[in-house]
Symmetry: C2
Subunit: 420 residues, 2 copies
């Protein structure tokens, strides 16, 4: 790693650290005004941003990037408008900072208040579309945090342009532009370097594919909030209402293929398989979904391939669905707890006891009865925003909105108390 890269990333960390006390003290009015000004500036700078984005698009095509990915990378007037609109929506959300979460008085007279505070400096490492740059700023800034961004190399020119516009808008409002900084390097070693800045960065949030997330979790010296991969199951219980089951499966599997809350595997009670699997076969054929079935179900699914052990642990993000047969709800729960990624799991049943056993027994952020796993989303949950979906158990689990970007402190007021 070059000394230059190391020094520059260190300097970025130091500037973020210096800005965090200012960010945490901003009034809601100041924050909202800055957000609205940033939104306006992005719209007004659409031409410049698109010109820089064109460079990324050209490079991507030269490098033979898949057409679908090129499309995700592309910015145009309407996408920039959406970006600005997203920022305006965040401005309208309640300020999560300074809330009294709990308070009590001790017998010795000490008053204890538990108050929400920002996390501080948040490092976000992402591979996805350039609009994440604007989203991540809006959410971290509204929650009183400072953000250090490390975007994907494919979007480097777009990300630089967006960050520049945001920083200029903040500065024009008379505040420190270091509330947002972008790491201007495209080497992987820049990620490594960011992950060592314990002194300056409070939390790292990786957003992207399973490989990136694993790399960050295993190499970070800074606490990480793991987001991401979802090997989501739907369990069709013995007592399932199939009129509910089929639309839920179609929705969870096919409404959007490449997302973490899409279903990847069906678990089917053996007593319902004769009735259910032929219907499933028809529904999946219609949606062009390939089935990969275990030995007990494959004879009822004429077009299915045979599932391997590996299939059950796989997040396909594709028109593929695995099928596993079980003897009872306990076996379904055990199977799901073995293979899932702690994201979203559903049972389809009219039996209250089985629903309860599933809700309690399945170890995942979101557990559903008779609903699609696709609802695991900050907007759907009513949080008004989402920085990602946490699949770990520390700090936040499931959709992360503004509140999940906060920590707390205890403020204790006395009049001379000492410990006996």
């Amino acid at each position: 790693m070059s000394d230059n890269l190391k020094n520059e990333i260190g300097a970025i960390g130091k500037r973020a650290f210096d800005a965090k006390y200012l960010a945490g003290k901003l009034s809601s009015d100041d924050k909202n005004r800055i957000l609205l000004d940033v939104a306006k500036a992005l719209e007004e700078s659409a031409k410049e941003i698109i010109a820089e984005n064109d460079k990324d698009i050209e490079a991507a095509k030269e490098n033979g990037m898949h057409e679908g990915l090129v499309d995700r990378l592309r910015l145009n007037d309407s996408r920039i408008k959406d970006m600005a609109e997203g920022i305006r929506q965040v401005a309208e959300l309640p300020d999560p900072i300074g809330e009294t979460i709990d308070s009590w008085k001790l017998e010795n007279g000490l008053d204890i208040k538990k108050v929400s505070v920002p996390l501080g400096v948040i490092g976000i490492i992402y591979e996805s579309r350039p609009n994440v740059t604007a989203d991540a700023f809006a959410l971290t800034f509204k929650s009183g945090n400072v953000v250090v961004l490390k975007g994907g190399s494919d979007a480097i020119n777009s990300n630089k342009a967006i960050t520049k516009v945001i920083r200029e808008a903040i500065e024009k409002d008379g505040f420190n532009p270091d509330f947002i900084q972008l790491i201007p390097f495209t080497d992987r070693s820049a990620v490594n370097e960011l992950l060592t800045l314990r002194e300056y960065v409070d939390v790292i949030i990786p957003r992207g594919g399973a490989g990136l997330i694993r790399f960050v979790c295993e190499n970070s010296k800074i606490p990480v909030i793991e987001t991401g991969s979802g090997n989501c199951h739907i369990y069709i219980d013995e007592f399932a209402d199939l009129d509910k089951a089929l639309p839920i499966i179609v929705n969870a599997k096919t409404q959007r293929i490449g997302v973490c809350n899409a279903a990847e595997s069906l678990v089917v009670h053996e007593k319902i398989k004769d009735k259910f699997l032929p219907l499933l076969s028809d529904a999946m054929r219609e949606k062009k979904v390939e089935l990969r079935a275990d030995s007990q179900s494959i004879s009822l699914l004429p077009e299915a391939k045979s599932a391997t052990e590996e299939d059950f642990g796989k997040e396909y993000l594709d028109y593929i669905l695995s099928v596993k047969t079980v003897k009872n709800v306990e076996e379904a729960i055990a199977h799901i707890n073995k293979y899932n990624t702690g994201h979203s799991e559903a049972i389809i049943t009219e039996n209250q006891d089985n629903a309860k056993a599933f809700l309690e027994g399945v170890d995942a952020a979101c557990v559903y009865v008779n609903a699609s796993t696709r609802f695991t989303d900050g907007f759907q949950f009513g949080f008004g925003a989402e920085i990602g979906i946490s699949t770990q158990k520390l700090h936040a689990r499931g959709p992360m909105g503004l509140k999940e970007l906060c920590s707390y402190k205890y403020q204790i007021t006395g009049d001379g108390q000492v410990r006996p």
Copy 2:
């Protein structure tokens, strides 16, 4: 690292993982009964435990361990009784699992419940006294978790004996003894190995000195809750009531020297230094506390040594206190935010504005007005127990009781909802 060690620690992780679903489902009655039986078994096995502890004491003396540390390692009837009593107190605390933290209904009819659940498998790495073995079990077990312990090599025989008694008592009650397991190796490589078990262990909590905690944070592949070191400050404001200030300083500095919530540094407003420092000098002389003072304060402290930059960043855990002079509350806050470890910080003032600025501006788990930093403690806060004091911002901050050993999940109930 030997394959044997690697395999055995892997097997311990697997057994813990297999036990965690049972642990999470235990009723409060079962948990409390097991805790009371464990407490009784420890008292009844005092003789055997002390015999094993004698081996550790003998080895420690042979290795030339400092007398104070040998004393911390020693178990006797009364200390075992205290250990049992601690477990009985945990049995009396409310069960933190299954609590509905929040609930709401979406417009589409989905019912969302946010419910407290165990973290799962908790790895605790500690250096301290053997009573931590029993404490850690009681707290993790009551909160529905499974614990894997890695104690210090000095206490290996004591820890093995205590763990054996606890496991036998659980088994006698008809439950899985793997709710608690001790890693039976004393090599440092056993810690390394534990820190790689992402597949089985949900959270690592290190308890011990700054070196151990740093090692764990930097090397763990598993999420860590950082506990521990406290470089705690007391700021004597221009408007301090010195009748409150002196007893608070004496308490925070000298009531117990070797603890993380003891004060290590005084920050003094320059307008009060002429009046305050001579009184401080007398009080510290009486308590045999050495002062290390900056250039503006040293002339008023006849016995003080000159403080170096290094002094301000130091957790002495000794009869030493550094003194720093500042021009105003803002400079005090900036100094503390530069040098503190995010633990406990206090202001002594009768001025409401300065108190407010300090409470809001200082970045630490616990911020005090006119009280001793020694109150940062799960028992003092009324939590009834404490697994440690978190100095990080993710998940839990400050004293961690039973609630802080929990995560949550969303349970969502519908009647066929799909995402539009």
